[in-house]
């Protein structure tokens, strides 16, 4: 019982949810299906966070997944290629298992071609499959299980339907299997908003947009692959972030050049060498060859010599895209001397670190909260489906909901973001931070530098608390704003309580 904040900020909540689940399992012990469902939920609390990667067709979902894992595990292709929901989990050895809708799971052979995984369904139609599960020993999957989904608004409505039921399973009334979603879009379309909305509002513990991040994928293609495409993409992301519609639906918007990130994370020396040879060609000639993909493919003379010596041109285009080749050669010309340096530079410029940072603050740090939320949602559904309105179990769930200030925070955060609750601008920013929008650690909430001492924390927390207490009695505020102030006050009190050593 020292004064340091607990290592896992949501441990108490997790435990309470765990207990409620056990209690429920006991209550439903004579109903094996319900009990099994609850058991799953309980197990899920200890598993890595499940993050689904969703988006429209060809938004670059598999490419981004590979970039996040750091290995080409998910097959990518020019046509529509992901047709079955595919889970990528950390495992001891590579393993692929196919789960049909009915019948026992079927293990599939693990085949790799050019380092990439090739999945052969052995002629099973995609419609008959529930999911594929790929176990893959990878550091990138240790903390999170990634779920690749088929594209929405795809030509085959079947494929799209599979994704919708996966993410928004209204139809069969089972809780969603993903704890959080990374939503990929090339630009914001109405269908994108629909899908993001599917994530909002699901039962009691819901809160707008707490578990979704939007990514402008294929950012390198903005502005026809100009060398400054990423700058443009970032400013577009910035605009979306400020847009009320989007704010209400997701935590953050980041721009990522998926292909660049994937290639950067898996760069081979031969590829670096090919790019390095390209820059020896006179600049005008190279630029003329890089005007279009067809020109690059057809180019003869110096370009052909440079490229064909090692890598195949089509492969190079597939790996880098015109933008990647343009950027890569420019970087080498500016003094990037070796393959690892180029890889690092490509990754840095792809925007992947931004995404990883956001994933960390929004998802990984809140892992237990999101997990607890998923589990409570499931439990609530079970109770509702059962028509149970009284009894100790219902009271227990209600108690968790009423006592868990974390949920109130989430809810207010969502309300602030979607504009349901309005505070003056400067206050809203501070309120969001205090409620944990940037991360749950007390320093982050109070806006102090990392490693601040306890005394500083306490001082800051007390000042903030007083300020918000004043806000709460401001007669000019409406009732909702005042209630929001009280939530923030409670948050501040919580921070102080965690700091203050307890005396016997």
């Amino acid at each position: 019982m020292n004064g340091h904040p607990p290592a896992r900020p949501y441990a108490a909540l997790s435990d309470a949810v765990r207990q409620a689940l056990r209690h429920a399992m006991h209550v439903y012990r004579d109903r094996p299906r319900t009990a099994a469902l609850l058991r799953d939920q309980l197990d899920r609390l200890d598993e890595p966070l499940r993050v689904a990667i969703a988006g429209k067709v060809k938004a670059g979902k598999s490419t981004l997944l590979n970039a996040l894992v750091g290995e080409p595990v998910a097959p990518t292709d020019a046509g529509e290629c992901t047709r079955v929901v595919t889970w990528y989990r950390d495992g001891h050895s590579p393993r692929v298992v196919m789960y049909p809708r009915s019948g026992a799971p079927v293990p599939l052979p693990v085949v790799r071609r050019d380092g990439a995984l090739v999945i052969d369904l052995k002629g099973t139609p995609a419609e008959e499959l529930d999911r594929l599960v790929v176990d893959w020993p990878s550091h990138g999957l240790r903390g999170t299980t990634l779920i690749d989904t088929p594209g929405i608004a795809s030509m085959s409505t079947q494929t799209a339907r599979r994704t919708l039921t996966f993410i928004d399973p209204e139809e069969d009334d089972t809780p969603t299997e993903a704890d959080a979603v990374v939503y990929l879009m090339r630009h914001l379309h109405t269908t994108d908003i629909d899908l993001l909305e599917a994530f909002r509002d699901q039962g009691v513990a819901s809160a707008g947009a707490v578990n979704a991040i939007a990514v402008i994928s294929r950012a390198d293609e903005i502005g026809a692959g100009r060398i400054d495409a990423m700058v443009s993409a970032r400013s577009i992301a910035q605009r979306y972030r400020a847009e009320p519609t989007v704010r209400g639906l997701c935590q953050d918007v980041v721009a990522v050049a998926g292909l660049l990130a994937e290639t950067g994370r898996t760069l081979r020396h031969a590829e670096f060498a090919a790019l390095a040879r390209l820059i020896r060609i006179p600049r005008a000639e190279l630029e003329a060859a890089l005007l279009s993909v067809d020109r690059f493919r057809r180019a003869e003379g110096a370009v052909a010599d440079a490229v064909d010596a090692g890598e195949n041109r089509d492969a190079l285009l597939r790996r880098f895209g015109l933008f990647g080749i343009r950027l890569g050669t420019t970087l080498i010309r500016q003094g990037t001397t070796d393959s690892p340096a180029l890889a690092a530079e490509l990754v840095a410029r792809s925007g992947l670190p931004d995404l990883q940072r956001v994933l960390h603050t929004q998802f990984t740090q809140r892992r237990d909260l999101l997990k607890a939320r998923s589990a409570l949602l499931a439990l609530e559904r079970v109770l509702r489906a059962d028509g149970r309105t009284e009894g100790p179990l219902v009271r227990e769930v209600e108690r968790i909901l009423a006592n868990a200030h974390e949920f109130t925070e989430l809810r207010l955060l969502g309300a602030l973001r979607s504009g349901v609750v309005r505070l003056p601008r400067e206050m809203a920013g501070e309120a969001e931070r205090l409620l944990g929008a940037a991360g749950p650690a007390p320093q982050v909430r109070l806006g102090l530098p990392a490693g601040s001492g306890e005394a500083e924390l306490r001082n800051a927390a007390l000042t903030t608390l007083h300020r918000w207490q004043n806000h709460a009695v401001n007669p000019l505020f409406g009732r909702t704003a005042t209630e929001a102030c009280h939530v923030v006050i409670r948050t501040c009190e919580g921070i102080i309580a965690a700091l203050t050593p307890r005396y016997p």
Binding site: V57, K58, A78, G79, E80, A153, M155, T157, R186, H187, H189, T190, T191, D194, E197, D201, V204, E221, I222, G223, A224, A229, S232, A233, S235, I236, R239, E243, P244, T245, R247, G248, L291, S292, V293, D294, D314, L317, R318, G321, L322, T389, V394, V397, E398, L401, A402, T408, R411, L412, S418, G419, V420, V421, R422, R479, T480, E483, A484, H486
Partner: protein
């Protein structure tokens, strides 16, 4: 030495007929002349946003006319046409709430530098300035033939509002270019759009842009062609690269230009689209000139006959008077074509209305079933409302397309009946050119509007089908939300836990009923509004057809009157005068014959640019070429 260009032929004819003092016939030729010089060939450039529509227009024109940006760029339709100097004109509808016929527009010329402020999403987000369109005139040879390129805001977009507005503009277009980039194959909405477009527009082409950027563009092109074939859309696909085109324009590099794929597209526009418009122009001009000179020659021949053989004058006059009587009957209400028109419009009105109601009722039925089955509607109301809107908008579009086809068919029937024994040109149905729909309710916004999406979508909604569709829906949305607005956090929490059981069931049923009423009211609003719009449109078509044919009947009647008068006066004239007329008439007839020859030559000539023209085999079979209705 004989005039060959249509305008010259008209001028020649005008000069020749000036001596007959027939202002009604001259007016007809003047109309033809105005049509020839002013009528533009409109090409709509449509597609989802960020596909490179503005770049395509710029590439075609060879000048940076439309603002291009990495973020969503085009907010207002931009019309690019030929002009001697660069001009930018902003067109604003002054009274968008009023009826279509009473809408007035205001045109303001603005400095060229301000173009982006009006057109661009940056300077005019969501068309906040409420512009109907922006017209840009540029001195470019490709536009000199009357080509008019219309750059539209994206079909889908953040608010899919633009979609239906685009739909309404389709029938007035001579060609439609659907722009889609090579990053992916066609999506379902794009194919739906194409299917509707080919139903109302004769020339639909698909443009695959950015093929410089995507290594797999050939595969995407193949996939797209397969989709087109599967959907039964006979549209040609043009892969292009605007980047290469620009570079080619900058460097004046013709090889690069050929590589950009633009020349093929330009050829298509020139030969197929302009060529077709040119043939249409020639045909209708020839028709007008032949009709006018024919009537005059008829009169002269009657006079000639009377002068030669005074005995037969009485018989001639009787014959002519009978003909005149027929012409008079033709313009009476009891004439067959008038009846065809009247009945046809009435039938059409009923059919279209029925079709609309049928479609809407089906939507309402599905919506109500969904609501009954779906539990508390407030949780899914946003998505549900959007679904209803989409369905309703799609149904209204389909109804519109169908109505257009039927109206065209009716016009043909009327023409057929009007003229049983001579070729008769169907007037092109341009009455429906601009269709900015009014909104059902004036856009009243509340001070505190908790619906973020609503606000976003409301901007720039005025003036489109979907605009009005959304308003109806939004109104009900606000109403519903006030009951269950989760404004209070504390209360929300308590409610969340307690509202279970009977209380909850009762609440849910009530909300379901409210939602159903909302849907029904919305559908009713739409039926009312769309129905009114299509009735207005039909009335305009009816009026145009009636005026057109009545005018022709009047002209024929007047010509016959003249002939009767000439024949009658011939009896009273002196011998010397008679001989003079007999000498004069053949010369005059020869002159008219010369004009007629020139007019007939118009029908046979190859399209405007013989050097580059090698007519494609499929040409001429276009559905929009004015049907010549054969006798009987």
């Amino acid at each position: 030495m004989a005039p060959t260009a249509p305008v010259e032929v008209v001028d020649f004819a005008l000069a020749t007929i000036a001596r007959y003092g027939r202002p009604d016939l001259e007016a007809r030729l003047w109309q033809a002349r105005v049509r020839l010089t002013d009528d533009s060939v409109r090409v709509l450039v449509v597609g989802e946003f960020k596909q490179g529509k503005s770049m395509l227009v710029n590439g075609l024109v060879g000048a940076p006319v439309c603002p291009v940006a990495d973020d969503v760029a085009t907010a207002v339709p931009t019309v690019v046409r030929h002009a001697e100097t660069v001009t930018v004109t902003v067109v604003r509808v002054l009274n968008p709430e009023d009826d279509l016929a009473e809408q007035r527009t205001e045109r303001v010329e603005v400095p060229v530098e301000e173009l982006a402020d009006h057109v661009g999403e940056g300077g005019n987000p969501g068309n906040r300035k409420g512009l109907a369109c922006v017209e840009v005139g540029v001195p470019r040879p490709i536009l000199a033939g009357g080509l008019e390129l219309v750059d539209t805001p994206g079909v889908g977009g953040l608010s899919s509002v633009h979609g239906s507005a685009t739909m309404a503009a389709l029938p007035s277009a001579d060609a439609i270019l659907l722009v889609s980039d090579a990053s992916q194959e066609y999506t379902a909405p794009e194919l739906t759009f194409l299917r509707q477009a080919v139903a109302v527009c004769p020339n639909v082409a698909c443009v695959l842009t950015k093929n410089d950027l995507y290594p797999e563009w050939r595969r995407v092109a193949e996939l797209d062609e397969a989709h087109l074939a599967a959907a039964g859309v006979g549209a040609q696909l043009f892969p292009v690269s605007s980047t290469l085109r620009w570079q080619a324009v900058l460097d004046n590099d013709s090889a690069l230009n050929e590589e950009s794929g633009y020349p093929a597209l330009v050829r298509y526009l020139r030969r197929r689209v302009l060529g077709q418009a040119d043939r249409l122009g020639r045909r209708s001009t020839a028709q007008d000139v032949l009709a006018v000179t024919g009537q005059l020659a008829e009169g002269l021949r009657a006079e000639q006959a009377a002068q030669r053989d005074p005995e037969s004058v009485q018989e001639l006059v009787t014959r002519l008077t009978e003909a005149q009587q027929r012409a008079t009957e033709l313009r009476e209400r009891s004439a067959r074509w008038q009846q065809t028109l009247g009945d046809g419009v009435a039938d059409l009105n009923a059919d279209i209305d029925h079709d609309l109601r049928e479609r809407m009722r089906e939507i309402a039925r599905v919506a109500e079933d969904t609501l009954s089955a779906g539990g508390d509607p407030t949780k899914t109301w946003d998505e549900f409302a959007r679904w209803v809107q989409q369905e309703v908008a799609a149904a209204a579009s389909a109804n519109f397309v169908w109505a257009t086809q039927r109206a065209r068919w009716l016009a043909r029937r009327v023409a057929e009946h009007f003229s049983e024994d001579s070729d008769q040109l169907v007037p092109t149905l341009r009455a429906e050119t601009i269709v900015p729909q009014r909104s059902v309710q004036p856009p009243t916004m509340r001070e505190v509007e908790p619906w973020g999406i609503g606000q976003k979508a409301l901007t720039g909604l005025k003036g489109s089908y979907t605009g009005m569709l959304m308003f109806g829906m939004l109104g009900t949305l606000v109403g519903l939300s006030s009951i269950v607005n989760p404004l209070s956090i504390g209360a929300g929490l308590v409610l969340g836990g307690r509202a279970i059981g009977d209380e909850r069931k009762r609440l849910v049923t009530r909300r379901q009923n409210e939602a159903k009423t909302a849907v029904r009211r919305h559908v009713d609003d739409v039926i009312f509004q769309v129905g009114k719009d299509s009735r207005d449109r039909l009335r305009a078509v009816q009026r145009e057809l009636r005026d057109h044919f009545t005018e022709q009947a009047d002209q024929a009647k007047r010509s016959l009157q003249e002939a009767v008068r000439a024949a009658e006066t011939s009896v009273k004239t002196s011998k010397a005068e008679q001989e003079r007329r007999l000498r004069e008439i053949p010369t005059e007839l020869a002159k008219l014959e010369e004009v007629r020859r020139a007019a007939k030559a118009l029908l046979q000539q190859a399209p405007a640019k013989p050097a580059s023209a090698k007519p494609a085999p499929a040409e001429g079979a276009g559905t929009a070429a004015p049907e010549r209705v054969q006798a009987g």
